[in-house]
Symmetry: D2
């Protein structure tokens, strides 16, 4: 399939490479061109402007850092949206706001283009290994057109709704659940450490009984060891996603007290110089408040 | 082994029965005698007073509702502690406070008795099926004496410390983690419902990807269906355990903001007549606050 | 003095009238022209477009609902900023974001215009009675030029900084303090009512001892009577100001847990249909959560 | 009037002295006898045991640190309650739990003694100057008997209910309001300091406009200067009162989220070594979390 791919960061590079490997015909764009070079050597064409990654493709995929980047690539100067043919599909895989997803849906409809929201769960290593969990929402026929692409990038596809923004809401809700795991482990580990016991022992009990899920094992190990670098997912990105879930909740007049509390943790962590660390470093706020060094 | 067993509620009955099945010689006590009758028919002796369940046994097991019941059975009128022989072991399996566990440890030491704290994770069906997770802490030699008993009652034994109270702290911390799962699912489901989407679909995404742990599946299903009866674990018991973890945290000068927040949820749920429902019914507070019926 | 005045809502009308009474030469603009008519009868000129209220005046005053309205009036179509003469002063009295205030300061400097931030405390009756408390920040010489105007509109002028945005930050902080008063009274009244006692009696004790400030008396009376209409300051405006203080805090990486908690109250109140009531109606969330009807 | 007075701490000494000055016949008791000596020199008799301060008096006043001290003095060894004559009045002026107040009421009724709950607002200097605010609840005839005593100790008497425990609930609610003032000022000052502005300037604006109450001025000055020693009211006492209001709320199934949040502040402050400072030192938690030194 002829596919355009915009956004070759840690996630996007792995995803694009898996599409290449699966035999798709790829034209890629990245603001910092050098990031595109490895893929060029592997057979991708490199577009000079976003629009060139969208002209003539059946499917355009975007995998970018935030709302701002998505808007710039699609509707900014030399943006991709104008160049995308009627009937072609845009798969938006970035973690963006519900509001932007709804707006993109609207804009694509006006241009007779198809819009599929398909954010993912998984870190860069999962992207590289085609092990992403893909949460997609769109009209069934649009999703069907993209199935082979999803299969090349992920280990599992969830189709959650025919309204694209639902996928974004669920992605943000999922990230909120992860942040809750982090904060809840931080609070218990602070207590267990302060009482003179071993949080790693507690973590073992939990993950070998009721909480045998990777998210508890991985974040638990990080928080128990109190080491948050190198960051898998930097704290400001966590704050960004927290902001997006709170924005979606505000739009629906829903209060989410744990999300509010975690927002405060992010701010305290940033204020104390933890901005380069993994988002799990909000645990340090619990540790400091408990008087633990 | 000659074993005394005090407390034949939903949990204790199943545990005692598994000890009988494993061939142990059991003498049981329960305040409401009628609860002891099924076990009597299966071969257990029934004690008339708590002390009779402790006199002459190698191991005394208690599985009671709360601190108050444990203190009454052990040190109240006709209490078991006086009757327990020096060198005999008391395995305290109830979910009690860290402070009471420390006090029991002290009292048993003064009487040259052995004390093992061994609270469990698992609901009545797990108790009946000998599938409990047992979290034990005590001097290694005391735990070793009890291994065959633990094997008869549980699917897995975790030995977490040589200080008994550590096991109680970890049990309470574990229950706190479960309560955060409940509250975090409640907040996300409120958002997803309010936005017009299906929380069951979201739950499926989560439990088939990052959160594939029973605790998410079970509570998630209950909260998504908004049905909290019959109760597996009643709301006031959840409040009790929340109180105990907050007390342990206060003793260590540790703040646990999510635990504080969940305490408030329990109180609001009680105030709104949900005291007979499962503790997951705190989700109703999120639903009501979001204007969902 | 020749003064332009944009924004003739409940607050602005009273303020503009007081300037007229003090003998100033007033040209006013309001999007809905009819609001300007009473002032016209009292001697004000009425501008047809925002720019006309700024051309040729020594001082331009804006008193508008929110950031959006301020930006539209100043830099939108036929906006006032272009028309304001170099050396003329813009006094921004609306409750706006710190970020917008800083931006306006910058824009005015580029045009050699003077910018004074001077938000106010007080409700419409205080505006009408020239009893506002004015919190001003700007270069001293710019404030000095405006003193007679401030005297005509307020009972007291506080000059808090030479950086205009400081005044906006303090105004938002003050509104946050008021919201804290509301929420803290709501929580105590819920407790006192639930225990079967009279919150009005409690309020009397407090306001005749340590809390003898109008803000406790006024909001206390409203919350004790559980009547929130007619609204003096509508709930969505309260949410807006809460949002602005949280935004300022986020910009400075400061967590404000009470502000977060009150944000959740606003959302719950909105979700339960209280959007037309006074912002003190967040007390209803405390009442409902306590099971009070 | 013949009056017994138990509890000669910073508060009680001043109160007892004012009774002496007003011409009452005083017999005092304090666990540490030396605290009674100044009063002895001024004409009070000193009792050797609590019971001696109650035998033969018309009114017994207790002013002690906490529930435990009150119970010990009244119903412990040589306790005062047994010695108090039928028909005599016990005025309980300590800040104690609602539950203990109710229990004392019951016990006194059983002995045909009269019970008046009359906790106070005011610090030691107000006690010395007879400027306390007294919040009393009891049957009207019992309060009437004590009026001259209240006049000798306080500047104002509030009679809030005929159920004694109502006075204790209102005293605790009042202390909770003070704690919200502290926390709300702490959060705003953290923001204002972090933004580079002067919290003292902000405080001046607030206390000379909407918040012209002593509680804002006094705590505001302390928090703005970031100096919390010498302590007027030590942090652990603040935590104790917070615990009591939360206990009263729990008994009534009322959630008080700000009280929960402030509890967490107290714990964090204690964990960071602020236990000897004024309870307003919880502001340091806001400052630290904001990265302010």
């Amino acid at each position: 399939m002829k596919v355009g791919f915009i956004g070759l960061g840690k996630m996007g590079s792995g995803m694009a490479r898996n599409l290449l490997k699966a035999g798709h015909n790829l034209i890629v764009y990245n603001r910092t061109r050098s990031h595109a070079e490895p893929l060029e050597r592997e057979g991708a064409k490199v577009a000079a402007i976003p629009a060139d990654a969208a002209g003539g493709v059946q499917v355009l995929i975007t995998m970018l850092a935030d709302d701002h980047a998505v808007e710039e690539m699609l509707t900014g100067e030399n943006g991709a949206m104008e160049a995308l043919a009627p009937g072609a599909v845009h798969i938006s895989m970035s973690t963006i706001s519900v509001a932007l997803s709804r707006k993109l849906d609207q804009l694509h409809q006006e241009k007779q283009q198809c819009y599929v929201a398909a954010p993912v769960f998984g870190r860069p290593d999962a992207a590289a290994a085609a092990k992403l969990f893909i949460v997609a929402a769109a009209k069934p026929e649009h999703i069907n057109e993209c199935r082979t692409l999803f299969e090349a990038m992920g280990q599992k596809l969830f189709v959650v709704s025919d309204q694209p923004a639902a996928a974004n809401l669920m992605k943000l809700s999922g990230n909120f659940l992860i942040s809750t795991v982090i904060e809840s482990l931080a609070e218990t580990f602070a207590l267990i450490r302060k009482a003179g016991h071993d949080p790693a022992k507690f973590l073992e009990v939990m993950t070998e009984s009721l909480f045998n899920a990777p998210v508890y094992r991985n974040y638990g190990a990080m928080i128990a060891s109190n080491k948050f670098e190198p960051a898998g997912f930097k704290l400001p990105l966590g704050l960004k996603d927290n902001r997006l879930v709170l924005a979606a909740a505000e739009e629906n007049s829903v209060s989410m007290p744990i999300a509010s509390l975690i927002r405060d943790r992010f701010l305290s962590a940033l204020a104390n110089g933890l901005g380069e660390q993994d988002w799990a470093a909000i645990a340090r706020v619990s540790y400091e408040n408990a008087g633990l060094k």
